[in-house]
Symmetry: C2
Subunit: 508 residues, 2 copies
């Protein structure tokens, strides 16, 4: 008489808790299953009914407030995944560890993994079999020993295979991507309308900010809806040739969206991971041609030219084998691009450039033209070196602005741009001199503390850039915040750590 198995059947109860990407189950500490099976709180359990199975992290409840001893509570997402009515008898058991954990252990011991290993790992992650702890182990293992080129390629293929692939039925589908790290670097919002106006399809999907005060999706969202269904996105690209959407809902290489929830808090940003993450998304997005922007500078992500070259070569190696024509530009990453840092402030810079305003930041404009020119030269009919002139004509003539307005309308124009943060503070130079350097890292940090990107109107507006003369007491930049706590965090950081500016006394 298999009594123990009988006892393991509990009544399913729905607990309206959203536990993000991890399922949670609740069991009463007086439940016979908890006592007999030796489950540990915060360990994973397998919940089965009929042919359906989910994994969940076990929370153990010391009284009857949430579940009684005969019940198993499951969080909202877990309840949806099971798809069974409340009261269904479910079996709770120890899960088999995900099969691919063996490959993670081999990676930890320094092995080189094969394509099949990466398929197994990415599949298990997408199917929610990994805890964050297990994902962290995998990610750190990949950072540490580093990944061989062959592994980065396998990993990219495996990541791309976790989702669908878009097919645009076009011979040339362009994309651009910046590896990030430079505040204010919102070139995509200028490049996309120029390239689309030229006639090359450029369905740009972007991430939200991970460690920076604004991603392209955060900034575009100030002007238009960015949360578009795949059908809507396809329609817009068909009509306008370009879009500026958030990539999160597109189900392209979805494993990346899960891993990012672990990479972000751990600050993991390793070359192999970066290449696989970027190229799997681009492959899944159906891109045929990709222009990569690799900013180089002492406070950029890439700080040494050698490393920039090494990174470019891994990108090229994997890109070639995935059938993506890839070019990489190593750009100036010594200071922020433009004047605004934070969604609203960056959106203003972008629109000033597109409108050919006199006060538009020239560095942002020039960089966007360089990039757009290179993409236009993906067109076999364009002579090498002519792309930038074509891009410039499109911008100067107002065609880029018109295209941007059309894209905004197509995606869904926001009624009004959010206001800038109402709390302002000017950070001033403590001496006469010249701005010798601006610390990208510090400014990113300050703008985030001030509330960006969650508060769209929070951020920093730069009055001075490298090479500018300043006088003692003159403002270097202005800080904007929506909430007092954030405002104080940002000001504290400036006081205790750094304002991010190096002023050198001018001789004489």
């Amino acid at each position: 008489m298999p009594k123990s198995v009988m006892n393991k059947r509990l009544r399913l109860k729905r607990i309206g808790i959203d536990t993000y990407k991890e399922n949670v189950a609740f069991m009463n500490s007086n439940c016979c299953v908890y006592r007999a099976a030796g489950f540990q709180a915060m360990s994973k359990v397998k919940v089965t009914a009929d042919s359906r199975t989910i994994l969940a992290v076990l929370n153990v409840v010391l009284n009857n407030s949430i579940v009684s001893p005969g019940e198993l509570g499951v969080s909202e997402q877990a309840f949806q995944q099971l798809g069974l009515p409340e009261g269904t008898r479910v079996l709770v058991d120890h899960p088999e560890p995900p099969a691919s954990i063996d490959a993670v252990r081999r990676k930890i011991s320094g092995d080189v993994l094969e394509l099949e290993d990466f398929y197994g790992i990415t599949r298990d992650i997408v199917e929610n079999r990994y805890s964050k702890m297990e994902m962290a182990a995998f990610l750190v293992a990949c950072v540490e020993t580093g990944l061989e080129r062959s592994e980065v390629l396998s990993y990219t293929r495996a990541m791309a295979a976790t989702g669908q692939r878009l097919d645009w039925n076009e011979p040339l589908v362009a994309d651009k991507h910046c590896i990030g790290g430079i505040p204010g670097n919102r070139t995509s919002m200028i490049v996309v309308p120029i390239v689309a106006a030229y006639g090359i399809p450029i369905p740009k999907t972007s991430s939200r900010a991970i460690t920076s005060p604004a991603g392209t999706a955060d900034t575009m969202e100030v002007l238009a809806e960015v949360n578009l269904s795949p059908e809507r996105l396809r329609q817009i690209v068909k009509e306008e040739k370009g879009c500026l959407a958030w990539g999160g809902t597109s189900k392209l290489a979805p494993v990346d969206d899960i891993l990012i929830t672990v990479e972000r808090p751990l600050g993991i940003d390793a070359p192999g991971q970066m290449v696989a993450s970027i190229l799997s998304k681009k492959f899944a997005a159906g891109s045929t041609h990709l222009l990569l922007d690799i900013p180089l500078g002492p406070t950029a992500k890439v700080r040494k030219r050698d490393y920039a070259h090494q990174l470019r070569k891994i990108f090229e190696y994997v890109g070639d084998r995935m059938g993506i024509h890839l070019e990489a530009m190593i750009t100036d990453g010594t200071q922020p691009i433009g004047r605004g840092i934070g969604p609203v402030l960056e959106a203003r810079d972008v629109m000033d450039v597109l409108r050919n305003e006199k006060e538009a930041p020239q560095d942002l404009k020039n960089k966007a033209l360089d990039l757009a020119g290179r993409i236009i030269e993906f067109d076999p009919d364009v002579r090498g070196g002519q792309g930038r002139d074509i891009a410039r004509q499109i911008l100067d003539s107002g065609r880029a602005l018109a295209k941007m307005e059309a894209i905004i309308d197509a995606q869904g124009r926001k009624k009004e741009m959010p206001a800038l943060g109402s709390m302002v503070h000017e950070v001033r130079s403590h001496k006469d001199g010249v701005v010798a350097a601006i610390d990208n890292y510090a400014l990113n940090r300050i703008a985030r503390l001030a509330g960006a990107p969650l508060d769209k109107g929070a951020g920093i507006y730069l009055y001075k850039k490298v090479g500018d003369r300043v006088e003692e007491g003159e403002a270097l930049y202005r800080l904007y915040s929506q909430f007092e706590a954030d405002f104080n965090f940002a000001k504290d950081f400036i006081k205790k750590h750094s304002a991010g500016y190096l002023i050198e006394s001018s001789p004489g």
Copy 2:
């Protein structure tokens, strides 16, 4: 008027959920704080009231079943840590990342860490500032690049410093430790009574099984209480010279007990981690002399003699600098020791040896005498080479048995030994021949699947050891289980993977 800060004050509510070593907070999705502050479900939040602060993982609740919008629910442990009455107004905020995460990031990029870094990391972990994900990142980073000797020493010092240190007021306090991996290897339960009967204090604290089917604490628990307060432990050692207790409640190097909750599911078992974990505990336990057992064999933890030597040298290096006289024995790890695998079966083997029963496993007896002899030679008055004879006399004379009975009584004798699992299955040889090899790893796995160590009576009893002749159909070992599901897991593993025995046909 700092309205946002006002809004962040929620009413504290106690939620009777035991969430093991991680605090959990519950917030309603309609709570203005959740909406305004941009918290993410399953991310960490800082909860402050008066001068008290805790960190907790945020669960977001989609309805009012657990908390209403103005409340913040906290799990049982978090509530205790805050120590404030329900209804107290608490401030919820984004936490600063633990300061020592920077050191973890440096380790991930391959840096060598300093003593201060390890102090910071271990302190933050003990003070509950790390998530499991962050701990996994730290542990894997240490495995991967490996730790320099100097780092292992720093790490050991830092781990030891997270708890108290016992002082026995004795010139010689002995201990033994086996690095594990060999099923049935329960020598401590024979060595401790012999050494204690000789008169050397040997306050042995052991872990429960991590990846094996039984630890010394699990096995001793079959006979006696092992969960002893530090005061009780001290009293027993004073009276009996020895004890066999669980180390988990002793607050010695407590960071290790936290890290183990991450090492266990990830199967992390790296040399630096092992040395720091073992020696920090031994240092904190006040040991002056330590005998290390390093089993070597093709399916042991240590599979190559070179690696065994390397490991021994790291142990010696750190031991010397921590002021512990350390000797390491590289022992035969080619097959299980004794006949029983699993708490009850191993306890029977041990008691058979102590009782000088004819059927007692001789390999277990001989190994225990070797180890006990070496420890007795820590006594400066014992001539080199005489220790084993002394140990043998103590065992043969029944003094070891008497001491064991006294220790059992002192710790609290169990009324009766748990029964063996009621489901049994004999695994038989598929041909005539000789047992050429036994796979420690497979037998550990099978015994764990069968239910050990949680079901004390589950496990394996070996009829045949390496070198024994077997006939086709003759039983190699017997499997015991308490629960049908476990019984089937174990049988499935044997069928699909391996029974753990290599039988070679005898010539002719």
